[in-house]
Amino acid sequence: MEKALKKSAPIFVLPTLVAFIIGFIIPFGQGLYLSFCKFTTVSNAKWVGIGNYKYAFSDPSFGRSFIFTVMFAVVSIVLINLFAFTLAVLLTQNLKGTNIFRTVFFMPNLIGGIVLGYIWQILINCLLTIIKEPLLALNSKAGYWGLIILMCWQQIGYMMIIYIAGLQNVPDSLIEAASIDGATKWQTLFKIKIPMVMSSITVCVFLTLTNSFKLFDQNLALTGGDPNHSTEMMALNIYQTFYARSGNQWKGYGQAKAVIFCVLVIFISLFQLKATRSKEVQQ
């Protein structure tokens, strides 16, 4: 059976592979090439060497957006996973109406980022007017926390579903054995459940990490980087480099930033995967 599978594997892989090459590998290679070029449209690019990278690394706004992104990512990863896990534990307790709650918590995830961004912008601006604080466009602190609240609201439900699946996979026999041994609820949680759902944690942390780093729509819609680029995350910074100025050198700068950004995200997520995987246990 296995041998037959191996033989025909290429046939089954082919359609997806072709799609992957056309939709990912080729554009990625082209993007890499363009980051060394000066161009207006992708079809006529002029090779300029590493000048674009020199600019990208020396641009202070890129560094600032990186710091802001890291600050955002750390806080949002912690908050999202903490809340999602807590909800998942609460909603696997055989309480009444858990299904309704699961649905309700999952729903924000179905709304698009731009729409969410504008809705929260109105909500937060209203609140800021009431407490007589400067509005979002002038208030980087409110912008930062606004982004965090928005992302928590959107992502907690999704992560919660993954945690629920993980928690439901913890064998009852283990929990029973622990309770016979006299473990308290907290001990069961920390010594049995958490180690057993480590693989879910890996997945969730990976998702929240990459989502936070790549965040664009919500950033664009909620704050647009105001005031003075202080709430601008890396993806938005790249976009602005591309479009906020005229002259074809900016396209190359933006492209170089995008490549740096991509490498950075891959590197950080690999590191995170390795770190959390090492804590996973075999059932």
């Binding site: 601006n125 647009g224 005031p227 906020a244």
Partner: protein, 456 residues
């Protein structure tokens, strides 16, 4: 048996892969030729033989900038196709997405043969793609050489619409407050009227100015259009047309005007950060404010059923207390230039030039531009537009007032405008001298910094 299965699997896999590719190919085709198809089948058969033009084998693809005129352009294109058999596709980029759309469209094989740039700074991106229009018929139709966008000796862009902006004034409300537009001849007059209305705001039930919203949908009215005035007067004083180092000689006037807008508005200064263009227009339509800074392109939004009539409205110059106010006209100019894609096929270029010439010179083309699109066009055969504000602009000019030219196409970048806008918003929320010096900094130092980057 085994073999047939395997073959079938292989076939299926190949089919799936192919269908993926087919999916990619199809889409491009339909989106481009959508508009011209219907018209083509109807009429081309009869007329095609009669009209022989050089570009008869080519086709035209116009990437339109103005969503307001999307339908009119498509209708005009269909008529042209019916007359000549030349296919004309019109695609309109979503508002605010022209540059991104243009970039991706130009990279395709069926690239636009005709697109637009917004002036010298916008041209920097597309210079390499612009066909030299020096010898074209359409260039010969221009009423003034000043409407051509030149680089060295070549003509790269041709302005196709002249617009005016100023303070749109609700004359009926102004009369309720006891004034008429003739009372406003200078910044001092305007200030007096506005402050008097504000003082009696509760009694009158309306404010002087509609909210000067600094949301992205409206902030261009101030960071670009209002900022044109200090630019204009500085250029006038120094006798220049553009500069890489602005001095900000008239920024105090800019500040006075901005103060006037903020302090005599429908809302508080700190709320302006979130006010949109629609908010501002609706306040004006609901008769909550007398003045509304905007341009001739707003005409269609202000006049009509349940809105205003021509008798209610007058556009007056934006007086900022500089220059010769007695002879100041509306701000009139353009930031819309047609360009022809040099990279297109020769017959397509010719077809595009023929189409352009037809649009600006034929009876049908000029009528469509004047009556349906409400444009004033700078061409010899132009038909008079029915737009009230355009008529008023002509009256001002006829009375010897000097129009304020549009200098904002010389602003160095979007980034510069955003910087000024940001500082203006902060100043509106908290009008301190410190906050104003941030505006000055963004205006003067930002200008130099952005130009330095532009010339890299």
């Amino acid at each position: 048996m085994k073999n047939t299965k395997r073959l079938a699997a292989l076939g299926m896999a190949a089919l799936m892969s192919l269908s993926l590719l087919a999916g990619c190919g199809d889409k491009v085709e339909t989106s481009v030729s959508e508009t011209s198809k219907e018209a083509n089948t109807e009429a081309s058969a009869e007329v095609k033989e009669e009209v022989k033009v050089d570009g008869a084998n080519g086709s035209v693809y116009y990437l339109n900038f103005k969503p307001e005129q999307d339908e009119q352009w498509k209708a005009l294109a269909a008529e042209y196709t019916a007359q000549t058999g030349v296919e004309v596709a019109v695609v309109t980029a979503a508002s605010g997405n022209y540059e991104t759309t243009l970039m991706s469209e130009m990279g395709k094989s069926g690239a636009p043969t005709m697109f637009q740039v917004n002036g010298p700074v916008g041209l920097a991106n597309w210079k390499d793609y612009c066909y030299d229009l020096k010898d074209s018929q359409v260039y010969g139709e221009l009423t003034s050489d000043g409407f051509a966008l030149k680089s060295d000796d070549s003509v790269l862009g041709i302005a196709y619409v002249i617009e005016s902006y100023g303070l749109i004034c609700n004359k009926t409300l102004l009369a309720t407050a006891g004034y008429s537009v003739d009372d406003i001849k200078s910044f001092a007059d305007l200030k007096k009227v506005a402050e008097d209305i504000t003082a009696r705001k509760d009694e009158l039930g309306f404010a002087a100015f509609s909210s000067a919203g600094m949301d992205g949908s409206s902030d261009w009215r101030f960071k670009t259009h209002l900022a044109n005035l200090p630019l204009y007067f500085e250029y006038q004083q120094d006798g220049i047309g553009t500069t890489t180092a602005i001095k900000g000689s008239f920024l105090d006037n800019y500040r006075n005007m901005w103060d006037l807008y903020v302090n005599n508005s429908t809302c508080e200064g700190k709320d302006l950060a979130a006010k949109t263009g629609d908010d501002s227009r609706n306040e004006f339509l609901n008769k909550e404010a007398v003045f509304f800074q905007n341009g001739s392109w707003e005409y269609g939004n202000l006049v009509g059923d349940g809105k205003f009539t021509d008798d209610d409205l007058q556009m007056i110059p934006i007086y900022v207390g500089a220059g010769d106010e007695a002879n100041q006209g509306l701000c009139t100019g353009t930031e819309n230039y047609w360009c022809v894609n040099k990279e297109a096929k020769a017959e397509d270029i010719q077809a595009t030039l023929d189409f352009l010439y037809w649009v600006v010179s034929s009876e049908r083309g000029t009528a469509a531009m004047a009556d349906e699109m409400n444009f004033v066009i700078p061409f010899k055969n132009a038909k008079e537009s029915s737009n009230l504000f355009v008529k008023q602009d002509r009256e001002y000019t006829a009375a010897g007032k000097l129009p304020v030219s549009w200098n904002f196409p010389t602003m160095p970048s979007e980034e510069w405008k955003n910087g000024v806008g940001q500082a203006l918003t902060a100043y509106a929320a908290d009008s301190t001298d410190d906050n104003w010096s941030a505006v000055v900094d963004a205006f003067v130092n930002g200008w130099a910094a952005e130009y330095a980057l532009l010339e890299q």
